[in-house]
Amino acid sequence: MSQNTLFDKVWDLHKVSSLPGGSDQIFIGLHLIHEVTSPQAFGGLKDKNLKVKFPNRTVATVDHIVPTDNQSRPFKDNLAEQMIKTLEKNCSQHKIRFFNIGSGNQGIVHVVAPELGLTQPGMTIACGDSHTSTHGAFGSIAFGIGTSQVRDVLATQTIAMNKLKVRQIWCENKLSNGVYAKDLVLHIINKLGVKAGVGFAYEFAGPAIHALSMEERMTICNMSIEGGARCGYINPDEKTFAYIKNKLYAPKNDQWDQALTWWNSLKSNENSIYDDVIKLDASKVEPTVTWGITPGQSISINQQIPLIDDLSPNDKLVAEEAYEYMSFKPGQSIKDTPVDVCFIGSCTNGRISDLRVAAKVLKDKKVSKNVKAFVVPGSEKVANEAKQEGLDKIFKDSGFQWREPGCSMCLAMNSDKLIGRQLSASSSNRNFKGRQGSPSGRTLLMSPAMVAAAAINGKVSDVREFINK
């Protein structure tokens, strides 16, 4: 059993009681809600005649269903309009802070909370969304919950949960030029498998991790869940503190000094005990692209789609399903595969640094005629910052459509969807069958820089050929 890790410290601090049967009652320091997984939770409160216990510890925004072309109300989609109205009503009735469209602070919940300084080290953070693991980048313990647990948090500010084991993933050296956090996390998931993290929290550590910016760290922690780990985190350091400082809801003045002292005390001790430790060399990672229907089915840009005989018995079944669904042949190169749609955005890679990297690749270039390309900033703040830097213009000049903030085609709950068998190059997090809105649509996950390169060439490309010229 792990000892003295950040996870142990934060878990123990938030433990309210041991429940009969062996699970723990854990206090949730920050609860984030959005329109898709909260209505039934508020309905559950009403059914049980309960109130929201600490309305100040819940924050809401709207992201999953919002259109990205025209956000004027009422939305064209009646169901989407009904969902945002329900959230507005619930927040106003229960006095929950809500960052609505046009507030300047709306966006994807996992982009918004960090950029407002709500996400801080040492907190427990829960949200009815599996990518809540993102917030672990700050040294918080953050995880996705279902709607019944959203109801529990609203009613009690606690949930019942079994303590997770802790696996440290130590990343040696550093990423090479043209290789990004997305490539590293896809590589990790490929090496460990999509279910290796079940029952674990992942601690990402080592020089390669601490060399990453906060936004890159969010990309890593965001995809912990794709490796099966409900929670992923990174010990806070000077970069963490510098990112939080002066954010809207960051501690100020004397309170900032108190916060720093406490945050520094949270890091995993040097003699921490882990349930498991994995080491890998980040300098060996290359631009990575998925070829299949799980985020674990990825290869380096210059590799071939694996042959069935090269796979472990456990991976064969899903590989066969993937060859068929993707219409790819074992042994085929992934490079030069023609793409139809290019999507930059999502809670994984829709932040300002992602847009900067992609814009740098796109500057003075044109998107291939055969490609529909669009960029969806992760939040209103990201969109505004990008506009101030002129990034929107670079995107538009290249042929990308510039959209309004939201989750968009990561999960395609709005009108941004693949059509038929279209193949997308996507900076999002899931390449599941049908994920991007068409039951037969296909997704290749990659870094935003790689999506930009694919957009220019109209086919999967090695972004290093653009940036190293």
Binding site: S17, G122, G128, D152, K195, G228, K252, Q255, G437, P439
Partner: protein, 207 residues
């Protein structure tokens, strides 16, 4: 789909019924219930849409469309079932279709806790045993009696010792799997924790 649906309530100590097997590893919650069906403010109509896209692709040959599976209540799955999105809509859709318990090689964490929270016990068995159950079920009806207390599954031809987290097993037996009331019992402890947490003291501007 069963025409009348009532949510489970209270103690769950036995589940008896016909099995339906769904083969495949890493079946994600997007497949169980595609995102477009999440545009709803209640779970009521999800049952008919469970596995919608997979079912359309298989044109009537999907296990959830086969006539012989119509009244099945125990789902037999393989590894990492329910991975991906945290949407509770996935187990809600399965439950509304008629599923009352799931036996699999392994489950994704969030899916598992969602199932427990709504009263669907999930049990695990080794790969070989799952395959044996699925192969048997391919040929003839498999009727199982699941005894939650002793974690046993019995049929006319074989018995299996099932695995389930002890915390979950105890919750089903005591009827306290709907956690809200259990959590509320500790209201004083919750208040104490709220008053003690260091960061709530240096984030006073937010409260």
């Amino acid at each position: 789909m069963k025409s009348e649906f009532t949510s489970p309530i209270g103690k769950i100590s036995e589940i008896n019924g016909k099995c339906i097997s769904l083969k495949g590893n890493d079946i994600d919650t997007d497949r169980i219930i595609p995102a477009r069906f999440l545009k709803c403010v209640n779970f009521d109509s999800l049952g008919e849409s469970v596995f919608e896209d997979d079912r359309k692709t298989l044109k009537g040959r999907h296990p959830f469309d086969l006539k012989e599976n119509k009244d099945s209540t125990i789902l037999i799955v393989n590894s990492n079932f329910g991975c991906g999105s945290s949407r509770e809509h996935a187990p809600q859709a399965l439950m509304r279709w008629g599923i009352k318990a799931i036996i699999g090689e392994s489950f994704a964490d969030i899916f598992y806790s969602n199932c427990i929270a709504i009263g669907i016990p999930c049990f695990t068995l080794p790969k070989k045993s799952i395959q044996k159950l699925q192969n048997y079920n391919d040929k003839e009806f498999l009727i199982l009696e699941i005894d939650v207390k002793n974690s046993l599954a019995k049929s006319k031809d074989f018995n299996f010792k099932l695995e389930i987290k002890d915390s979950s097993r105890k919750m089903f037996l005591s009827g306290e799997w709907d956690a809200t009331s259990t959590l509320l019992k500790n209201e004083n402890l919750i208040e104490n924790k709220f008053n003690d947490l260091p960061y709530l003291k240096f984030n006073t501007h937010f409260t």
